[in-house]
């Protein structure tokens, strides 16, 4: 599994954005620089264009879209939004998604941090085996175990229960989180715990007061990587949830899609409503997400 682990942990190295910005002029002429800028803008248009098409569509009446697929709206018409908001009861789904995602990510990162710490800093028999067991989970298609999970939950009364989903998501995030945090901890100098130990702290105190603060970048990476897939998953809640008021956003949306398959305008509006919170989170936290992703992926 070690190829997945960093050859030498580079977590402490500065994020690339902090590098001096001097070098740009060194490579090539001004003309090619312009060309590079142009290419970047073209790709930005490709990345963003589809979402703009959806946004424009969400303001047009359905009949217009059917007649003329591309075109600007005559006016800023929010009818589609009103219809989408009313019928899709997205607000309930949002609260569910948020609760479930936050709880499961918190649980996952907590237990993973503890396990990863123990696995990377303490020596005990079976340590390598345990680490391999966790990390091999990265390659397990966990969804293949859905049916057994269903019956297990049924016998525990966890069907149609948000706690069941939280536990399941937390469990499926453990391999990646352990992997990231272990890699990070291996790069930490041995001196980290020394002082605390000399002060007479026990392992628990030391973990909370010394290790956790140092671990923060790795915890951030694990959080970012857990958040999006958990927020976006539709497979588990589809099978494990029953009542409409416990659905998450993706399941709610598939329902909405079924109902409005023929009404593109309302569909577009529903999509925009679903995407806005993500866009807001992204706008507010771009810096953290990018540096989190960068730090995580460079490892």
């Amino acid at each position: 599994m070690t190829a997945l682990l960093p050859p030498k942990a580079r977590a402490a190295s500065p994020a690339p954005s902090k590098r001096p910005r001097r070098a740009a002029g060194r490579h090539g002429s001004g003309l090619s620089r312009l060309g590079v800028q142009a290419l970047l803008w073209v790709y930005a248009a490709l990345a963003f264009g589809p979402l703009v098409l959806v946004l424009i569509g969400s303001f047009r009446p359905n009949a217009d879209i059917l007649r003329e697929p591309v075109g600007l709206p005559d006016s800023l018409n929010f009818d589609n939004y009103a219809r989408a908001w009313e019928t899709a009861s997205l607000s309930t789904y949002f609260v569910n998604s948020l609760t479930i995602t936050v709880a499961s990510v918190a649980l996952c990162v907590t237990v993973s941090a503890m396990a990863a710490y123990a696995l990377s800093r303490w020596r005990f028999r079976g340590r390598a085996l345990l680490a391999a067991l966790f990390i091999s989970g990265l390659m397990i298609p966990a969804k293949l175990g859905l049916l057994p999970v269903f019956y297990m939950f049924q016998s525990w009364g966890l069907i149609d229960n948000r706690i069941g989903l939280v536990l399941l998501y937390a469990a499926s995030g453990i391999p990646f989180s352990v992997f990231v945090i272990m890699g990070f901890m291996r790069g930490m100098p041995d001196e980290l715990e020394e002082a605390a130990r000399l002060d007479g702290c026990d392992e628990g105190r030391m973990f909370v007061s010394v290790v956790l603060p140092v671990m923060r970048p790795a915890l951030a990476v694990a959080t970012v990587f857990q958040f999006a897939p958990t927020w976006n998953d539709f497979f588990y809640p589809l099978v494990l949830m029953r009542s409409d008021d416990k659905y998450t956003v993706p399941v709610g949306l598939t329902r909405f899609f079924g109902e409005y398959a023929a009404d593109r305008a309302t569909l577009f509006a529903g999509l925009v409503i679903a995407l806005v919170p993500l866009a807001v989170v992204f706008a507010l936290a771009t810096k953290h997400i990018i540096s989190g992703l960068t730090a995580g992926m460079s490892k």
């Binding site: 070690t2 190295s13 290419l39 589809p50 499926s172 999509l271 993500l278």
Partner: protein, 304 residues
């Protein structure tokens, strides 16, 4: 091996206290279900009722029944094509974007943000969005092609067996391109500039300098990306389901292992649990085995 500061061995209680919560959660909800699925696969099922033990009967049934037995290698082949295509397109473009951003850091943060934005959208929604956009009757994309004089390019993108899989690869790349880009960007940032400068002083062209000096140093990043891409490509389900339905698009041109499992498990007959569990085990072995092998090969190359 560096020696760490160890006054004495950590007490077992602490080890258990730190590792057990994760182990129990992971063991109970990930490992146990897989083992159980393995066990289910040895029985015949009547709906949700477990019937008699059949040994490898379900495996045999899945592999030999027409047309399922023929669909398995086809779906596996589509996963392979999907992986190869994604490596070639997504990761090459990702590298290109990373190099451009590295050399030309103007608006770098903005571009990084825009390029990785689709990552946050659910694959299911990405699929719905693109199937609306690519619709031959009402989709804006064909319409745009027609209005700029490229009528001959307009086609039922997701309806033709020849274009469906390439479109799937492109849409998938559209969503995930931020990943390889960020990894490469970080890796580029870790390479000392002096190396390349020395090469260009020797008279090598910028391109030569890149390929001979910098690219080899990116190999660890390529390794990580390859393994992650493989796992992603062989687990794909949501996006294909949204683009082509559970049949895998026109004439099954986008049929992949994930869909095959879905159909056997959730659209199958009375013995769906037995057959899908057997299929799940085979898929698991392929993904797990190849990941390990891939990872071994890459590690060896890295060392040499």
């Amino acid at each position: 091996m560096r020696r760490r500061y160890r006054p004495d061995r950590t007490p077992l209680g602490w080890i258990a206290g730190f590792t057990l919560p994760a182990l129990v959660l992971y063991g109970l909800l990930i490992v146990v279900p897989l083992v159980t699925a393995f066990y289910y696969g040895f029985f015949r099922w009547e709906g949700t009722k477990q019937a008699e033990f059949t040994g490898l009967g379900n495996y045999q049934e899945v592999l030999t029944r027409y047309p399922l037995g023929e669909q398995i290698p086809v779906a596996l082949w589509h996963n392979v094509l999907f992986f190869v295509g994604t490596m070639a397109i997504q990761n090459t473009i990702g590298l290109g974007l990373a190099v451009m951003l590295y050399r030309n850091p103007r608006f770098k943060r903005f571009f990084q943000a825009v390029f990785s934005l689709p990552y946050l959208i659910s694959p299911l929604i990405v699929g719905y969005i693109w199937s609306l956009l690519l619709s031959p009757s009402f989709g804006p994309i064909n319409h745009i092609l027609e209005s700029v004089g490229l009528e001959s390019w307009a086609r039922p993108w997701l309806g033709e067996p020849d274009t469906a899989l390439p479109v799937l690869i492109l849409v998938n790349a559209w969503q995930w391109i931020g990943g390889p880009m960020l990894i490469f960007l970080a890796a580029l940032g870790g390479i000392p500039r002096e190396l390349e400068e020395a090469a260009s002083l020797d008279g090598a062209s910028a391109a030569r300098a890149f390929w001979s000096v910098r690219f080899p140093l990116l190999m660890p990043a390529v390794g990580v990306i390859t393994v992650l891409t493989f796992i992603g490509c062989f687990n794909i389900f949501d996006l294909v389901y949204a683009l082509g339905g559970s049949d895998g698009g026109p004439g099954g041109a986008m049929d992949v292992l994930g869909l095959l499992y879905y159909r056997t498990a959730f659209e199958g007959g009375a013995n769906a649990i037995g057959e899908s569990s057997a299929l799940a085990m085979m898929i698991f072995l392929v993904i797990f085995g190849v990941s390990i092998a891939l990872e071994r090969v890459l590690r060896r190359r890295e060392v040499s």
